[in-house]
């Protein structure tokens, strides 16, 4: 019983951390990792003993992952293109 609650609690905490860190550059990668671990624990908690806390941890972890990915992709898409352009320029100039 203790194990099931622990998974749900840890999943919820990690989900909250994932959401918060998603908005703090450059901590999105930390948010992403917390979201992944929180999601795995949330799924396990829901399988062992479905509860509101387990579901909240599951949902928040997903939200944290989504926000981290979106913000990382937006940064990548803007800065990555800049870097790709810079690298291409550097290559051409030899």
């Amino acid at each position: 019983m203790e194990n099931k609650n622990t998974f749900a609690v840890v999943s919820l905490v990690l989900g909250i951390i994932a959401v918060v860190f998603a908005f703090i550059t450059p901590l999105q990668i930390v948010g992403l990792i917390c979201g992944i671990v929180g999601l795995v624990l949330g799924v396990k908690a829901r399988k062992m003993q479905p509860s509101g806390m387990a579901t909240a941890g599951f949902v928040l972890s997903i939200i944290g992952i989504i926000l981290s990915l979106i913000l990382l992709i937006v940064i990548v898409a803007c800065a990555g293109m800049f870097v790709a352009g810079s690298l291409a320029m550097a290559n051409m100039l030899g």
Partner: protein, 258 residues
């Protein structure tokens, strides 16, 4: 073409929009197909998002490896840090694919769901997501094709050369990927033996990518000998696909007791 889109007066990368749309349609497709392989909705959603995270990390690491010598030069001259390089790094598809598959398998094992059922459910969504993503590449002007008379001019792109007509190889690849998606959808309409759906994708995309790489013009992606790095990887994936189609069933039969 249109690297930036205005949404409620906020400038958003068009490339990012297409990646998000691609992921959403891929998720929907996998969700609608989950009962073919008996996959739980919770497990599918968890594995997909974890695979997406793995795809981002893998795509970035691949990009970073290819541009590492230039990063070192920037680091020495300007104090450019590794974390800044990670945040700024772009995405390479094969790195994303490998990262996504690795994270997917790990996630399936951790949440104790049948790995092959999960792989077979998600795999047909990959060419669909990729097809939409390539439209994003076209918008940004990255992954551009060779100069040609009937090509497209990318004057707004921060990556493609301006004032030159370039083959829209991104759109050609997108069309090929859609064909692959529909073929995989048809093949995956019923449960298949482990490895077959994966083999279908590896061989199908490997051939598409190998051929289209001859029409790519962005040298930043890396050339090794006569072929680009992606072509070498494509050959490897075709070989891996052949292994999963022909040899893997025999190995699995020997391991499974009668």
């Amino acid at each position: 073409m249109f690297p930036v889109t205005q949404i409620f007066s906020v400038s958003v990368s068009t490339y990012a929009i297409f990646i998000v749309i691609g992921f959403a349609v891929g998720l929907l497709c996998a969700f609608l197909r989950r009962r073919i392989n008996g996959v739980r909705a919770d497990d599918l959603v968890a594995c997909l998002f974890i695979a997406a995270a793995g795809a981002l990390i893998g795509g970035k690491l691949f990009f970073m490896v290819q541009g590492f010598p230039v990063f070192l030069a920037h680091a020495r001259e300007e104090g450019y840090t590794f974390l800044e390089y990670f945040m700024d790094a772009g995405l390479v598809y094969y790195g994303g694919f490998i990262g996504g598959i690795v994270f997917l398998i790990l996630a399936a094992k951790l949440i104790k769901t049948p790995v092959w059922a999960m792989v077979d459910t998600i795999l047909p969504s990959i060419p669909l997501m990729h097809a939409v993503g390539r439209v994003g590449c076209f918008s940004a002007g990255c992954c551009y094709g060779i100069p040609c008379d009937f090509g497209v001019v990318f004057d707004a792109s921060p990556i493609a050369p301006h004032g030159v007509r370039l083959l829209p190889v991104q759109l050609i690849e997108s069309a090929c990927l859609l064909v692959l998606f529909f073929l995989m959808l048809h093949y995956g309409k019923q449960k298949r033996p482990p490895g077959k759906v994966l083999a279908f994708y590896l061989v199908g995309y490997g051939i598409i990518r190998f051929i289209l790489e001859f029409f790519r013009y962005d040298a930043i992606r890396g050339i090794y000998g006569a072929l680009s790095i992606s072509q070498w990887i494509s050959l490897g994936l075709i070989a891996l696909g052949a292994f999963f189609w022909f040899l893997f069933p025999q190995i699995k039969r020997k391991k499974t007791p009668a």
